[in-house]
């Protein structure tokens, strides 16, 4: 067993995902480098990974968000940018968490549209989405088919 000594304890890492027709991740990265104060910034294909003291990271993200508030999304990350345990450079292929971001990136244009719309019209005028059913009931004909399939 080996002792584990964490790198940069007490810091936070956040992903900044950009889904925009006018801003690219590299433009966002350049802007972040211009205004950052002592934080670590890594450019990725979908945006940035930013690590540093929580206050510094949040302040930087707030400034970046002003570029396109409805098209920049933020989430927490557990690992440091480029952590060898997670970084795909050390593994080959996408890291596991990328698939979730990839899936949600396809939904982001609808969310961006929603954020823009909600600013111009009160949400009380917007109907609630249809509530998904709690559990899907087994169709009786399907059940009958299963029962019959088990007969010799």
């Amino acid at each position: 067993m080996t002792d584990y000594v964490p790198m940069r304890p007490g810091t936070v890492t956040r992903y900044v995902v950009v889904e925009s027709l006018t801003i690219t991740p590299s433009e966002l990265a350049i802007r972040a480098y211009e205004i950052s104060q002592g934080v670590m910034i890594k450019e990725t294909c979908f945006g940035l990974a930013i690590n540093g003291e929580e206050q510094a990271v949040d302040s930087l993200i707030a400034k970046l968000r002003t570029m396109e508030p409805d098209h920049i999304f933020v989430k927490d990350r557990g690992f440091l940018p480029g952590d060898p345990r997670r970084c795909r450079a050390n593994h080959g292929g996408a890291r596991p968490g990328f698939h979730g971001i990839e899936f949600e990136t396809a939904v982001l244009p609808y969310i961006s549209h929603g954020l823009t719309e909600i600013r111009s019209r009160p949400y009380s005028d917007i109907p609630l989405p249809e509530s998904p059913p709690e559990t899907k009931k087994l169709d009786v004909y399907k059940l009958k088919k299963i029962i019959e399939a088990q007969e010799p």
Binding site: Y110, H113, I126, L128
Partner: protein, 148 residues
């Protein structure tokens, strides 16, 4: 400012919207960060040690696979801590290389059992559904109070 458990716990959309409207999202990254930033015994890649399945016994019985119990040691404390929850039901991304269907069922069950305000949704599939999705989340979070 309320602590809102999000499911899928890795969701970018939910994490962003909850924080955007002034509340604290409880996501898996927070639990992982806690472990990755704590000194101890090396247990790559997620710093999940053999202690975690033992902690998971609080939420899942001993005959339940250790993978479920290990995961519950991350999600269980967050479910206990949460004051509200937002659940996306058709989140296929929660099951796959890093997910576990049985854990997901247990998480949804525990959230329902806890009786905190809960919003059930599906991912939007059009722009109009996107508007309804964002409006539903904003309405829900405003109802919790303390947001912005």
């Amino acid at each position: 400012m309320a602590k809102v458990f999000i499911y899928p716990a890795t969701s970018l959309i939910l994490s962003d919207l909850v924080a955007r409207y002034g509340h604290t999202p409880l996501s898996s990254a927070i639990a992982i960060r806690e472990r990755v930033q704590t000194a101890g015994i090396e247990s790559a890649p997620l710093q999940i040690t053999p202690e975690e399945p033992k902690k998971g016994l609080k939420w899942a019985a001993v005959e339940v696979p250790s993978g479920v119990r290990g995961r519950m040691s991350l999600y269980g404390p967050m479910i206990e801590e949460c004051e509200a929850a937002i659940v996306i039901n058709d989140a296929d991304l929660a099951f796959g290389c890093m997910g576990c269907a049985r854990t997901n069922e247990l998480i949804k069950f525990l959230v329902r059992e806890k009786g905190v305000p809960r919003l059930d949704l599906d991912y939007p599939k059009s722009e109009e559904e996107g508007v309804q999705f964002v409006a539903a989340i904003k309405r829900f979070l405003d109802g919790l109070g303390g947001g912005r």
